[in-house]
Symmetry: C3
Subunit: 255 residues, 3 copies
């Protein structure tokens, strides 16, 4: 983990443009603000290019896909690609419906992602590998390295597979992370917010390997720290404590 | 109250498809996750049938009605009816505007609900009975049994009327519940989340009388428990503590 | 600060109709409920006139502008103007994109605001005055009185400029407020909720100078109070404690 990346985020307050799902927008914005980023969530096609051009990163999350949002997602991604702004794509629930699968394929046919982030079921689906899936919160890490590599090659992108062990796969190497806590799956948007935090870390000066490992490890450390607090007695109190923890220094989180 | 119903929810993690209002989605998803269900909230007409067919229950809440959402609500409800998946309908604010009244009538003309849930003003409106109404959070329980019976007969459905005393009316019997706390009316979505929890309980194996009474009593007990905590000093701290409490055992809630 | 205004809000529970941004709806509704108002958030053009006619105030916030919402915002504002219902307009992020600037100008060309509320960058933009802006959360108070006066004259409205020192400018006088805490900028919707609280205070019987100063001072006091609590250790715990504090008496907040 590279502490300088966290410091850079807090110095720079990168503006992260979110094309994201309706359910978790509030939590994601709160979490990113606490972490040190500056969230904006503008989905009107009429302003998406201009907003993207001001931003330091774009996060596209397909959690509540609609026909109206698709052109805006593609426009934001293309503008980001044009200006060299990092793009993170989260194919939420891709295996749940054929509409969703087709939707994300349309995005990926027009937008080059810097990172694709998903759980094992979602990444497996992109890798055309069968995987047992239930809902959008499925976890699993068996063979996750294989599917990460497949997707990294297929889309020429870095890949983050979240799970009990997170897998980070770039063209350089594969890393693993074990920080984190199951409470993150008991809070809506635990995965969405990680995507936003990853995007903020991509707006720093460091290698992508360091950026991704730092984002994922820090996020998990913050969850571990929050869970360890006496006042955390369920997913509701966890959520508040976790948002707090995202604003802390690594040393405080490590105890 | 039937403890086995709560256990079944936590064993099965029923996937509940929500066609619900924009304001409270995050809270409802967090609350259902904590309770033991698995929320999905997909409103694109293009995927609604497929998503519904995977689900164990459908919750339709008319809190922020739009023309775009109406066909999706009807499609989800019809697919659920076709596969015998329970459907809960919450006619939020039906008495507030004629648009809203017409909207819910369109849903009810195409979709057979398992349960209609609302406050006294909303249920009274469906029963064509005058009722003093203000906004969407009105409460009242006088004559609530009468209006519940009327709506149960008119729509051949079970009815839950929320209020200081909750009324549960099935074709078999009428039950009452007195757990609960006024704080639930000070948190946006206190009624919406109950609808989601009810839907999850319908995905268990038990009589509908037991399912509804258990859902409503448990929900109220969780509110009472949260309110009794020293750290709960207003609606904000109540919200966190209530979400926590939804994950607890009945025995813990009963203290 | 006029304590009677707070009491009136809690006696009357004014129904505030919000045409507001998607990201912060839940927080704004929770905060207004805690404060004593009664939130409704209905954006369908088909019901917006009827809903507005029942309301005691209209809050229009341009945080997530869409073509679909524009006519509803204008209709709500015009209906409010017709019935003498107060209208508060928040030009969120107006300087960020030309679409947003044009959007708010369309609203302002059709709707007469009672109050325009924004941060210095937003109010400066409306005053055609250059201002350094970053994202939608920019703060600044230098020369804020000048720009407030310009906008008050241009739109014949009261103006609230939020910042370290808040400026309140009516046709009668200019007031300043220094309650508040930077944590409010670390929570998504800290500005949106203030707009909602201001709208609720406009539904009381008092001078607009007293209404605005009371709303802004009370809001800041609640933030100060929440921040002073031992259990507040970051933006997440602040959010809960702040919502709690909005339900308190002024005397309790003043400690």
């Amino acid at each position: 983990m590279n502490q300088a990346i966290i410091h850079q985020v807090r110095e720079k307050n990168p503006l992260i443009h979110h094309l994201t799902n309706e359910v978790t927008m509030n939590f994601v914005a709160d979490g990113l603000l606490s972490f040190g980023g500056s969230p904006v969530m503008a989905k009107a096609l009429e302003e998406v290019d201009e907003m993207t051009s001001h931003s330091n990163g774009v996060f596209i999350n397909i959690g509540t896909p609609t026909e109206k949002d698709l052109p805006a997602m593609i426009a934001a991604g293309k503008t980001a690609n044009k200006y060299g702004i990092p793009v993170v794509i989260d194919p939420v629930g891709i295996a749940a419906t054929s509409y969703r699968a087709n939707y994300i394929h349309q995005v990926l046919s027009k937008v080059k992602p810097t990172v694709i982030k998903g759980n094992a079921g979602e990444i497996a689906y992109l890798a055309d590998t069968p995987w047992e899936v239930k809902g959008v919160d499925s976890l699993g890490d068996e063979s996750a390295i294989d599917i990460a590599r497949k997707v990294a090659n297929k889309y020429e992108t870095a890949v983050v597979v979240t799970g009990k062990t997170d897998i980070i796969c770039t063209k350089n190497k594969v890393s693993e992370n074990i920080t984190g806590h199951p409470y993150l799956t008991k809070v809506t948007g635990g995965g969405c917010l990680l995507g936003s935090v990853i995007t903020a870390c991509l707006a720093t000066e460091a290698s992508i390997d360091d950026q991704l490992l730092t984002a994922v490890s820090f996020y998990g450390l913050a969850a571990n720290y929050a869970t360890s607090l006496q006042q955390v007695t369920g997913p509701g109190s966890f959520k508040s404590a976790f948002i707090d923890a995202l604003s802390y220094d690594i040393n405080k989180l490590k105890g």
